[in-house]
């Protein structure tokens, strides 16, 4: 299959001035990532050191309770812990000891910092070091912060993965590392395509079990599968690993360019690349064109949420025929976002951070056909007549690579189709 994409825009959004406003953010904090990270790392336990609010957030963000005993919990700070620091460290030791005693299946424990633990400067890195020594070799203890004063929603996963990079052993092997916690089905598809091109060995961060881990070094090549992994990117750079820059693998075009960038690094021939990708590309193209029928010619407005906004705007404008009005992201890291910004044609407002009230004013004024936003905003916007896609589903649903490209378009087209289906007028 030859390149059938529309040519890249003459002017992309890389140099578009970014609108930055300071005000209320309507986003989750980084603790939320625990909801999917604990499913991905099956021998890990996430212990948030925080307040009742943190525990309540995790329970509410999960939407429904994942019953049985989940592999996450909150050590809730109480009045007595706030009085003196030495106390809090001892208390943490007590909580962790009893937890590990009760759950011998835990092989890695993450101490997760929160807003209150950061404000009282409770040193979780020190605690993790102490506990690692105490519980080695059975349990590895790491720490990261998922606090709202430092992280936005998906940055929690970034902080977690970045914390895992320094403990990977060194190696000189030339290996490919895929970075990002993806649903198993998607991860297997990606590995399948790359192996079919003769690329390997392929490693994944995070590995599903601590014992599946591998080394890292100057010959490691890595590709990010999620656009929010900027600290992890920097941590890998510090270990000497080499970044393969590419648009993110959403939709047929993003997936093809992402695979192509990796294939080039491993000397895969055009013929081999075509042999592996032609069939799934054709399927993806067909699925996207069907699923995006309701989206053609429609406008879209992104509130900042998961950090996927820029790659998704690229997908919706280039593959689904939509027009972007505003693309808001919690933060824009040029080093990983440039390939996507280059492909996104000039036109939309590119916004970083948020003043939610002002952004809502702009959204209502432009009355987009589809608004992508968080759960706190979706129903209020629907109630004023706007069609919305709640963004958290984009993080919880398999949407990467070819076989999910149609599903990804479907996530956006379903609310549009639904609105046209509902008809409550009397028949007369």
């Amino acid at each position: 299959m030859t390149e059938q994409f529309s040519p890249p825009p003459s002017r992309g959004c890389s140099n578009t001035p970014v609108l930055k406003q300071r005000g209320q953010h309507e986003v989750f904090c980084g603790l939320t990532g625990i909801i999917w990270l604990h499913r991905k790392m099956q021998d890990a336990f996430f212990l948030v050191v925080g307040s009742r609010t943190c525990a309540h957030l995790l329970q509410s963000a999960a939407g429904v309770m994942i019953f049985a005993e989940p592999r996450f919990a909150t050590a809730i700070l109480e009045e007595t812990d706030l009085a003196g620091m030495a106390d809090a460290q001892q208390e943490l030791d007590r909580v962790v000891s009893s937890l590990l005693e009760r759950r011998p299946d835990i092989k890695q424990l993450f101490l997760v910092g929160s807003c209150p633990s950061e404000v009282i400067k409770l040193d979780l890195a020190k605690a993790a070091e102490r506990m690692s020594a105490q519980f080695a070799p059975n349990v590895r203890v790491l720490s990261y912060s998922g606090s709202g004063i430092e992280t936005t929603f998906t940055q929690g996963e970034d902080a977690c993965l970045a914390a895992m990079v320094p403990v990977l052993p060194p190696t000189d092997a030339r290996e490919l590392l895929l970075v990002g916690a993806l649903p198993d089905v998607v991860e297997e598809q990606a590995i399948g395509l790359l192996e079919a091109m003769g690329i390997g060995p392929i490693r994944v961060l995070p590995a599903s079990r601590v014992n599946d881990e591998y080394g890292i070094g100057g010959n490691t090549l890595y590709a990010l599968t999620q656009p929010f992994l900027t600290d992890t990117h920097e941590a890998l750079q510090r270990r000497g690993a080499n970044h393969i820059a590419a648009p993110f693998p959403f939709g047929e075009e993003g997936t093809t360019q992402w695979l192509r960038a990796i294939a080039d690094q491993f000397g895969v021939s055009d013929a081999k690349f075509a042999e592996v990708t032609d069939a799934p590309r054709a399927r993806a193209r067909k699925a996207v064109s069907q699923a995006s029928e309701a989206l053609r010619g429609k406008s879209v407005f992104f509130f900042p949420d998961s950090q996927l906004e820029i790659p998704l705007a690229r997908f919706l404008t280039r593959e689904c025929g939509m027009e972007a009005i505003e693309v808001g992201a919690p933060f824009i890291h040029k080093a990983v976002m440039t390939p996507d910004l280059d492909l996104l044609a000039e036109g939309p407002v590119i916004a970083e951070g948020q003043d939610v009230d002002k952004q809502l004013d702009r959204c209502r004024a432009t009355a987009p056909d589809l608004t992508v936003c968080g759960l706190g905003l979706a129903n209020p916007l629907e109630a004023v007549g706007l069609t919305t896609k709640w963004a958290i589903e984009l993080v919880f649903t398999p949407v990467h690579f070819y076989e999910q490209a149609g599903d990804l378009a479907g996530l956006f087209s379903r609310p549009v189709r639904r609105r046209s289906l509902l008809n409550l007028e009397a028949a007369e």
């Binding site: 009742r52 609010t53 979706a378």
Partner: protein, 518 residues
């Protein structure tokens, strides 16, 4: 430090949000980091509200902490006033802002806003959601309501309903109707859906109806003291309680008690023969203190159940519930640790749990039916249909809700009669529940059962002596229908341990059955 997996209550500022979101014309400026906005979705998603909660979060970040976070609060408060033009504001801190000690109340005072700005002190590291709601409503009443001349006609305020409350929306309608039938008018319903200007008029009612002590008891006591308004002590959930409530309200209003029972169906449904199977069903109750207390009375006196245990998660009601539990001859469980609740349920092996969404999960895991009677809430607790807990219709709703998770009366007989049948067997479950029935393979019943008999006798370690089930007794136990098996097992073990019998045989099983026969 306390290890917590799931929580029954959120932090106190979420309680304040429930008050603010229920009201109109009030705005809450909350000093909080980003991420605390998650609480918005409780209201927009669980309760399907069509507007954002009236809350402005100051959204301070790590880099602000070195500098001055107070100006962030001031800017946010001024911007919120200008944008939303509320009649009044409440200001406070979430757990993190409490640590940086910016004093939102003091800061708001310096702004010279032309509206009342009511400061909230909600200690996040000591108290929880219900306290937050109760304290917030009390502060709003204390700042905005004044003693007034009473209305010419007899009126009452309904107090306690909030956003995200368990059936509050429909209870308001039901209680309003109960009062109207006696010629008592409603003055103000608060906090939901009152505005600050309506709160200001609360003093003119003759008395208060305290619908939910969890969220309005402090305000009720304050108004009794300051405005001379007595308040009702009976929460009208259940037939008996509704009758008591009507008598109590009539007395406070000096009118004749009137209760229209023409639509009341619970007493007849409970008396009709199909309900015979409900007799003595062992129930365990858990939730907020008010709902548990009311439901215990319904369970025992109106449904004919046996209350085998009860408890609540809100400490504020611990004393009341302990006293009540004593009357029922059981021990109250006061805890906010769901693992403890699960252990108690496992121990008691009830045939029905009346609990919260948490207990619904516990029931699912242990195979015990559960009906929901209390917050914390879930999207399913906001049904589209009218579905109160209070008053006449509330009693009807409760009958249906509690009976639904059980196997139906006649079906119980059929299951007992045909328990070895390939269609009517234990694993098939109740026929009106939507899962796919598992058919049993014909002819394999016997051999399968042989396989499933435990190779080693089951051990029981809870008593002073170890009790062992002999394989034949174990097999016999399996022949007892699933919905009574737990009770039979427990009764037999109690019977054995009381008599120092260490091995349970088929005879022990039937001796115990005869002993407990009613």
């Amino acid at each position: 430090m306390k290890l917590t997996v799931w929580t029954y209550e959120g932090p106190p500022h979420v309680g304040a949000m429930r008050v603010a979101t229920g009201m109109t014309g009030l705005h809450y400026v909350l000093h909080a980091p980003q991420g605390d906005t998650y609480a918005d979705l409780l209201f927009t998603m669980i309760e399907r509200r069509n507007h954002r909660p009236p809350v402005t979060y100051t959204t301070f970040q790590a880099r602000d902490l070195g500098a001055d976070t107070a100006y962030l609060f001031k800017d946010a408060a001024i911007a919120a006033y200008e944008r939303f033009k509320p009649e009044a504001m409440i200001v406070g801190a979430s757990c993190t802002a409490e640590l940086i000690q910016d004093d939102p109340g003091g800061l708001a005072e310096t702004l010279g806003l032309p509206i009342p700005a009511i400061p909230l002190e909600l200690p996040s590291y000591q108290r929880k959601e219900n306290f937050g709601a109760d304290e917030t409503f009390f502060q709003i009443v204390r700042h905005l309501a004044k003693p007034m001349e009473k209305t010419a006609r007899v009126t009452a305020n309904l107090i306690g309903p909030t956003g995200l409350g368990f059936r509050h929306r429909d209870d308001i309608v039901e209680v309003t109707g109960l009062l109207m039938d006696m010629g008592i008018e409603v003055n103000v319903v608060a906090p939901m859906p009152a505005s600050p200007s309506e709160i200001a008029k609360m003093g003119q009612a003759h008395f208060n109806v305290l619908m939910y002590p969890e969220t309005a008891e402090t305000a009720a006591r304050y108004m009794e003291r300051e405005f001379g308004q007595p308040y009702t002590k009976t929460v009208p959930i259940g037939v008996g309680a509704t009758r008591d409530f009507v008598a109590e309200a009539a007395k406070l209003a000096s009118v004749e008690p009137v209760l229209d029972e023409s639509r009341l169906r619970l007493p007849w449904y409970s008396a009709s023969v199909d309900s015979t199977y409900l007799t003595g069903k062992r129930v365990f109750l858990f939730g907020d203190g008010t709902h548990v207390a009311a439901c215990a009375r319904i369970a025992r006196d109106e449904m004919g159940f046996e209350v085998v245990g009860m408890g609540c998660y809100n400490r504020e009601q611990a004393r009341m519930l302990r006293g009540l539990a004593k009357e029922y001859g059981v021990e109250a469980l006061i805890t906010d640790d769901y693992l403890e609740v699960e252990r108690r349920v496992e121990e008691l092996a009830p045939e029905l749990i009346l609990g919260t969404q948490m207990e619904r999960h516990i029931g699912k895991r242990l195979g015990i039916p559960c009906a929901v009677i209390s917050a914390p809430v879930h999207v399913q607790d906001f049904p589209a249909r009218y579905s109160p807990q209070m008053g006449i219709e509330g009693a009807n709703v409760i009958f249906d809700t509690w009976v639904h998770p059980l196997v139906m009366g006649l079906e119980e007989h059929l299951l007992t009669m045909f328990r070895e049948d390939f269609e009517f067997h234990d694993d098939a479950g109740a026929s009106h529940h939507g899962h796919k029935a598992k058919l049993r393979e014909i002819g394999l019943t016997e051999s399968k059962e042989k396989e499933t008999v435990l190779p080693e006798p089951a051990q029981m370690s809870s008593g002073p002596v170890e009790i062992v089930w002999l394989p034949t007794a174990e097999k016999e136990l399996k022949k007892i229908p699933f919905f009574v098996r737990g009770k039979a097992k427990r009764n037999t073990e109690t019977f054995a341990s009381e008599r120092g019998v260490q091995e349970i045989s088929v005879d022990t099983l039937y001796e115990a059955k005869a002993h407990y026969a009613r």
